[in-house]
């Protein structure tokens, strides 16, 4: 397939692997955080880690929109669906994510809530048009990639005068998350996470461009290379990060030039800017409260804001206690460090979002490397009592 096969070519992969092996200095290690779940997925699906020398390690980042949504917001969505007799439209990935007491949208649906999986905001608008007597809420989640379609849907609803449509807005922003991780005690103080450089977001950067990462790269002196989601993109970008590290540079470079520019898609940005504005701060799963990291609906469009249209109760939301998703999202732990992985937590019975989403690190480990991961986890569990003694 044109524009895909070229980026999965075996000979080029071998050439790149050789170049990385030559570039990576034996006396040091390279810890590269791939921000996006799409990268994590490519690394596992194509066996990229296996082609890397032993001192080049990928640290999985928080770039899985389903994973970083705090349980509280999911509980709110379930409540909207159950208590306000609405049609709740959601992207498929969100359906099986467990909320407080393992309550997920799919379970609420089975018990009678009208929850529909959609592939785009246009589907949600159509459902609203087709059901004028019902309230239709679009559960908007995702990074900057999915934000423009949400903005378009709200504008369209206003233009059409769709009275029964609203959006439960949970859009989050990647540059703030990258800066937050780099400035966190895990990286700056305790050294719990070693990050020498970043593979920067792929689809997200097609919208926002590469410029927004420049401040963090400069401030924290870490190289960022915007990387496509194909395996050769990941490998080429890895080589570029390693080169920067070796040369003592910390620039934002762009490997994904076939899609990403420095300024991004300005039309999409201005659409988003028309409809949405910055929240002071937003709770991220794993990262905690991150300032300037999420968007809300502007007052001019507040009629379409589900948070204003429906009364949402204050509630105690709780994650499963031993679930290590939060630490995994910060790169502090790996799925094999979680004692629930592969024992009580499986894709069929997920305890945390990272096991649900195809972009989640736990799901990637489970799908592509679970035998090894379970063996590692078991070995760790067996080691622990001795370590204490």
């Amino acid at each position: 397939m044109k524009y895909v096969d070229e980026y999965r070519n075996r000979d080029l992969a071998r050439t790149l692997a050789d170049a990385i092996r030559r570039e990576a200095r034996a006396e040091r290690s390279y810890h590269i955080m791939e921000f996006c779940g799409g990268h994590t997925h490519a690394i596992f699906r194509y066996g990229v880690q296996g082609l890397m020398p032993g001192n080049v390690k990928y640290v999985h980042g928080p770039g899985c929109p389903v994973c970083v949504l705090p349980v509280r917001r999911l509980d709110d969505a379930v409540e909207i669906a159950e208590h306000h007799d609405v049609i709740l439209c959601t992207y498929g990935d969100m359906m099986r994510v467990p909320g407080t007491k393992q309550r997920s949208l799919i379970r609420a649906k089975a018990e009678g809530a009208d929850i529909r999986m959609v592939y785009s905001t246009l589907d949600a608008l159509k459902i609203a048009r087709d059901n004028p007597e019902r309230q239709v809420v679009f559960f908007a989640i995702g990074f900057e990639t999915t934000t423009p379609p949400t903005a378009v849907a709200i504008k369209q609803a206003k233009a059409e005068g769709l009275q029964n449509f609203s959006v439960f807005c949970n859009h989050v922003l990647t540059p703030a998350a990258i800066a937050h991780i780099l400035g966190s005690p895990d990286v700056q103080e305790t050294g719990a996470v070693q990050i020498d450089g970043f593979l920067g977001p792929s689809h997200v950067s097609s919208v926002i461009g590469s410029r927004p990462y420049e401040a963090a790269a400069r401030l924290y002196r870490k190289p960022v290379v915007i990387a496509g989601f194909e395996p050769l993109d990941v490998m080429q970008s890895t080589l570029m990060v390693i080169r920067q590290i070796n040369e003592g540079r910390h620039d934002v470079e762009n490997e994904y030039t076939r899609v990403v520019t420095r300024d991004g898609n300005t039309k999409a940005q201005s659409l988003v800017n028309d409809v949405l504005e910055m929240r002071d701060s937003f709770e991220w799963r794993g990262l905690g409260s991150v300032p300037d990291s999420a968007l809300k609906i502007r007052d001019a469009y507040q009629f379409f804001d589900a948070e204003k249209r429906f009364e949402i109760s204050q509630k105690q939301s709780r994650e499963v206690k031993s679930c290590e998703c939060p630490a995994i999202l910060r790169g502090v732990k790996r799925p094999s460090d979680c004692k629930l992985f592969g024992t009580v937590c499986t894709p069929e019975n997920p305890m945390g979002a990272c096991m649900v989403s195809s972009e989640g690190a736990c799901a990637a480990y489970w799908t592509y490397a679970r035998h090894q991961t379970i063996a590692e986890a078991k070995a760790k569990r067996e080691q622990k009592p001795e370590a204490v003694a």
Binding site: V4, R8, R10, A13, R45, G47, Y91, R96, A363, T367
Partner: protein
């Protein structure tokens, strides 16, 4: 009632509760629609049960419920699918299919003209396969309690002497053959789903594979295992077999064919074609020494033209299916978890 009246009614009428009520309306529907199109001597006996002399040999019995949305899709419909599905289940047992039964659950209000199209398609598939539908049943459910038409078919077949298809005959060293491209059916269906319509030439691969299986078994009766990778795709099917036989498997991604348009649709939707359903493909596991011969036979058959040896059965790592990726790395090919869902980012 003459036949002109009947066809007029089928053009404009719809299923109502009387069609399942056991009275005259039901008798007419059975006579003028089911019997008329599916006719064969056993069905024409007109009993609730078909009576026949069992053939010699081991018998294979299989049943399959068909619920599909949409009912008509590129390359087929629920009618032919319900014949192919059960004929294939019988064939994968190594058997020659003999007879089918069909049970229809119809939703009140369903257009009779569409029902007739379905029954005609079923009749054509049964006739092409040479496997008659010998008895059946019709029920009607109230509007809103069905999805148009559900069809359950049951098939009976007989296993030729010397053939023994069982997962526990899968052994390390054997090779895995696949009869053609992956994912055509699943993507054809998805392309017509209400909220996901996209323009494509992709057609379902729905087909009856007993002819192909018959030729393969005639040449190599010692085939260890046959299976059609339907729901869950080739990945889930091989996981099931690897677990059942307590063996490992290693596949070669480069040998697994995927049509470019299917691959493109999968890329766009974030689906892995190895998990997408097929309805006219088979997996065969055989001794390495028989593989080339079988491959030749498969390639010569209309339903096996794109056949390939896609991997081998290995010792150790029991239940684990791995694949050398096109890129040269190794990955695990796991069971399908839940349903494949499109990605967000």
């Amino acid at each position: 009632m003459n036949s002109v009246d009947t066809s007029a009614r089928f053009r404009t009428g719809s299923v109502d509760m009387t069609h399942g009520g056991g009275g005259r309306a039901m008798a007419e529907l059975i006579r003028d629609l089911f019997h008329r199109h599916l006719n064969n001597p056993l069905l024409d006996q007109g009993h609730d049960a078909a009576v026949f002399q069992p053939p010699a040999g081991r018998l294979v019995l299989s049943t399959d419920g068909h619920v599909i949305s949409p009912l008509f899709f590129p390359g087929g419909d629920i009618g032919c699918l319900s014949v192919h599905g059960t004929v294939n289940d019988i064939a994968m047992g190594g058997a020659r299919p003999l007879y089918l039964t069909a049970s229809f659950i119809l939703e009140e209000g369903y257009p009779l003209a569409d029902l007739e199209r379905i029954v005609m398609s079923m009749a054509r598939a049964a006739s092409e396969a040479g496997v008659p539908v010998v008895t059946g049943d019709t029920k009607v459910v109230e509007r809103g309690k069905g999805d148009g038409v559900f069809i359950t078919t049951t098939g009976l077949g007989v296993v030729p002497e010397g053939v023994d298809i069982r997962a526990d005959r899968i052994r390390p060293g054997q090779l895995i053959l696949l009869s053609g491209t992956m994912g055509d059916h699943g993507i054809a269906i998805l392309s017509k789903r209400e909220n996901l319509e996209f323009e494509t030439e992709i057609r379902s691969d729905t087909a009856a594979l007993h002819g192909l299986v018959g030729e393969m078994l005639e040449a190599v009766p010692s085939i260890a295992m046959l299976r059609d990778p339907t729901r869950g795709g080739v990945a889930s099917t091989l996981n099931e077999l690897a677990t059942a036989a307590d063996v490992g498997m290693v596949l070669d991604e480069a040998e697994i064919l995927i049509r470019p348009d299917v691959a493109a649709a999968c890329e766009l939707l974030g689906l892995d074609p190895l998990y997408v359903a097929n309805e006219g493909k088979l997996l065969c596991i055989c001794e390495a020494s028989d593989a080339d011969n079988l491959l030749k036979i498969m390639k010569a058959h209309r339903y096996g033209q794109d056949a390939a040896i896609i991997g081998k059965v290995t010792e150790g790592s029991a239940g684990l299916v791995q694949m050398e990726t096109g890129l040269g790395g190794m990955r695990v090919v796991d069971w399908l978890s839940g349903e494949q869902l499109p990605r967000i980012c």
